[in-house]
Structure formats: C-alpha cells, structure tokens
Symmetry: C2
Amino acid sequence: MSDDDHILLAHGGGGQLTAELIRQVILPALGPACRQEPTRLTDSAQVGLAGGPVVFTTDSYVVKPLEFPGGDIGKLAVCGTINDLAVAGAQPRAISLALVLEEGLEIELLRRVLVSAGRAAHDAGVTIATGDTKVVERGAADGMVINTAGVGTLLKGAEVGFDRIAPGDRIIITGPLGEHGMAVMSRREGLGISADLASDCAAIHELSAALVGELGPAVHFMRDPTRGGLAATLAELADAAGCDIEIAETAIPVNPTAQAVAEMLGLDLLAAANEGKLLAVIAPEAAERAVSVLAAFPLARRAAVIGQVTRRSDYPLVEMLTRAAGRRVVQMPYGEELPRIC
Amino acid sequence: MSDDDHILLAHGGGGQLTAELIRQVILPALGPACRQEPTRLTDSAQVGLAGGPVVFTTDSYVVKPLEFPGGDIGKLAVCGTINDLAVAGAQPRAISLALVLEEGLEIELLRRVLVSAGRAAHDAGVTIATGDTKVVERGAADGMVINTAGVGTLLKGAEVGFDRIAPGDRIIITGPLGEHGMAVMSRREGLGISADLASDCAAIHELSAALVGELGPAVHFMRDPTRGGLAATLAELADAAGCDIEIAETAIPVNPTAQAVAEMLGLDLLAAANEGKLLAVIAPEAAERAVSVLAAFPLARRAAVIGQVTRRSDYPLVEMLTRAAGRRVVQMPYGEELPRIC
C-alpha cells in the first residue's frame, strides 16, 4: 500500500494537501456537474434561483457497503437529495457535496464514487455548487460519509402537502418495492445474487415534474419511500393527514428477486428502502391520467394505483387487503430493520 | 448505562424510534430556531429568499472533543456555516442540520450540543429549516458528525471576490489569532488551562454586514480564517489574486495564553484555526473607516490593519515583517498540523 493511493489525515488539514486532493482528485472526478474552475475554490457559491419560493433539503449518507449493485454512496447521495427536492414539488437546481473521509481510504474508490456522483448530477441537470472535505483518523468513520444538501425552486402549479390529502385520494407507486434495500443487503450478506438484483437508485425529478406539469393541484402529496419503505411513508402520511389508508397487496408491483431475498432474510419488502420510486397521492378523478403520465417514463413503467385514502380518523390506520383476502395493519417500523441502508 | 440514555442503532431506522428521537430530543433542544411544528417533519423546507442572488454553502464538523472551552460541535457547526455565508457577502437566512450519531452516544450530550446549536442560530436570527438523522454502529463514527449547509441572500452593495483584490489594499483582522485551535488542543492534550483560554467560536455576520453596509464596494474580499488559519487564508488569497502580500508581526493582535499554548505544543499561531474572526481586504482609502466600524462591535474590538497587498506577481508570496525586523515567508501549511479541529 502506497501512501499516494490512500487518504492521509493530512489531506484534511486545509493546507496544500487538501487543495491538491480537491484539484487533482475531487473536481476532475465530479466532472462537468461541478462548474467551479478547477484551480479556484471558495467555501460557498451563488446560485441563480430567480422567482418563486426556494426549497432546501439535506441528507447524510452512511450506506454500507459503499458500492453495491446498481449504485454507490455518491450516486445515492446525489439522487437522494434531488429526490427530496422533487417530492416537495421543486425543480432541483444546485446541491452541495460534503465529504468526511477515513484515513486510509483508497483514493481510487473515492474517485469512482465521485465520478458516479458527478454523472448523476450532470444527467439530472443539477450543479454541484459547493463542497467541503474533512478527514478523520482510521477507525473514526467507515470509509466515508457524504452529506448532500440541495436547493430548488417550487414548480409552477405545485401544491403538495399533508394538508391537501383527503378521503378518496388514490395512492400511486411507480414500481416494485424494496429493490434498493434488498440489493444492499444481498451484497452485504454475500448472497451472490447481485446479477439479478440492483438498487433502483435514480433521480425521479422528471416524474414529479411531469405529474405537476400535467395535473397541477390534483397532485396532493409526493414522497420517495426511502428508509422505512412504503410502510413508514404510509404510516406517516396517515398520521399527518388524520386519515385511514387502505392498500391492496395484489396491486403492488413486485420484483420476484427482491421478494425472494426478503423472504430469505426474513424481512418485509413493505419496510425496505427504495431510492428511485415516487409515491404520489392524487385526486381520484386524476388518478388514471397520473398513471399514464408516469408510465411513459422507463423509470415508472410499472406505475400503479395501489390503494386509497378512505376516511378521516382520530386514530389513523394503514390497512392492507392481503392476497388471501385478509386484512393486515401496516405499521410504522419500530427501529432499525436494515441498518446503514442509505 | 441504561438504553434509554444512549443512542441505539434503531434510532436511525427511519421508524417510530427515529420519530421519537426527533420529536422528544432533537426539536425541543433546538428550540425556537427550528420553526417546524414539533409533530410534523418533512425532508425539506421552503425558505423565503425573495430578491437577489442566493448564496449556498456546506461544511461538515468532526471536531474532537465534541465540547471544548468556548463552544461545542453544535455551536461550531451553526456559526461556521453562518460565517461562510457572511464572508461571501450574504445575509444568512436558513441552515440545515444533519446528524450522524454513533450508537452509544449519550443522549444528554446530544441534547446539550443541540441546545447550543439552536441558541446560536436563534441569536443570529437564522432558521434551522431542515435536517436529517442517521445512526451508525459503535466504532463507525466518533460520537457524532454534524453537517450544516446554509442559504443566504447577497447583501446590497456586496461586491467581494478574489478578482477585486488589488495592490494597495489593506488586510484587516478582527482580533487575536488561533484561539479556537489552541482551546481545542489544550482541552485535547489535557493542558488544564481551560479557564484562561476559550475558543473564539462566534457568528460574524453582523461584522461583515456592517462593513458592506458602511463601505459597499470598498470591501474587496472577506474570509473567515478557519482550518489552516491566517497562513492558509493569506496564501490562498495571494495565489488567487496573483499578488504579493506583506504583513507586520507587530500589528497582529495576540492573546498571550493562546501564544503560550502554541509555544508549549510547538505550533504556529498563524496556522491555527479561528472560528469567530473576520479577515477583510479593503480599499486603502477606506481602511481606517473599516477598522472603526468593526471596533464598535465587542467581537471585533481589537480589529487592526495587519498588512497590505503590495504588487502583482507571477509567483505570489506572503511575507511577514518579524518583530526582529527580519522577513519570513508565510507558507500554505502542507497538511494536518491540527487534526479534527473543526
């Protein structure tokens, strides 16, 4: 192991070595998504956000392993923050990228992760506007932690919020559940089925923009069901809206490999993380249209109505009509079924 | 040790325990800086940023120890991001707060840090608009890592940038150097002189706003000399502006305790981190006025002109006229003189 190939504590000192790491590794790897001149770095950036309210979000990523089928921590961080802006009804405009690196991290791995982050941002038309790099000693972080914050501008016609959810609204999901969670777990557990199962990690802002563009205020609420999966998202939604929700198991799109992995590991796909799915709550008269708008995108070709908001309730409940025609309560997961999943 | 008093991996699962941690510990501790309703949390927030360009910044904090004389990681993170916006000529408006917590962290320590963060934001009139909480297993982080990103709006009359620095410009610093670095190091090394030396950790946006408000475009450049200290800031500034810089050792305000600690540890105060100092580059005719504007604030009562930009140069150099009437080259620190200082 050569020192040149690995992160040193000294790379985090804010001196010459930090500058070299940024100029020689970080900025070139990020590529065109990063519009900073390669030799000039400031701690902040001006972003053009003329007109309309600004939406602001942040997420730290601690996924383990750092690379997994279908993505890596870099792509995950960029897409995750784009998606948080997207489901708030915003057009993502700029993101920040802050790295906490562990001493000894392979620089080649860092480079791969950043190339992937830069490509994800560029493909989505989002600028990586500002960043930060810290290094901690061996054992004080697990390879790396990435934080991305993001700013975007509210889309014209976007009126989404818990308070707009009403009985009768349809619940739409854009594809099969749990692929991210199961892909990461199968790699972590060494299940050796990587070829058949990849994370769904993707930016979904085109889906949300199309929905808002076509249906305007008929889009009542959007969310990306990440940590805690569909179960956590629906439980939160029911609680926040003060409404019962009913979904049909047979209506939920399934990836058979993800399903098999979940059964093998004793996990519930409903509570598994997704990183490229949109959950939308749509006014009943617009639901059919929403599905066809979404299904036009390859990312959402299996979009389906999976249930509806049924009634106002003081004790909001999410219920699932099972395949066997029974009823099951879908609960907010209690704690950490799948640690370090994002 | 009771489970109730410490962070569990399950606190990071995105389920009920995560929600409880946020509602019962995080939001109450952050206090009025955090305008979210205590029972309703979304992944993003709208921030009002009408008119003018938006400035965007991010920083992760890995300081060790988490609490030190004069501050803690929470106050440091909030002030650090406010300051990055301030030196860009912006009015800080909203920040995000993303926590990566290590399993086993005392919840009481988390609470203290968040109370401190919330107070710092509130005192500065800045909203904590959005956040994120992740938990990693024991040994995968050092207590906690905090990332704060921030957005602000450019102040009227602010025209700061490397390209505005010109020969003749005066270099002003608002007080003695290295107090943050030396306070953290003395606590870490157990020097037992905490009573005499505290970090200068503070929000400096009122200083920068007063300068811009009073002097407008005569303020050519501003920076907070954090990691790498004055040495790194001046070296970067000389390099970016393509100019030589000369400073006078006798003009630099000194804290004798910080000086003594630096000598004891064999460190250079010029390269030590500051967390509440403003370095300003000012047009020569406005320099005297700038000092008197700054000195009206308790935080900057020892503000002084410490040197000037001398000439354009192809090989820009920072030189210090020493107390002994010699000359010393002030270099960009190479690597990590003071690891985990912020």
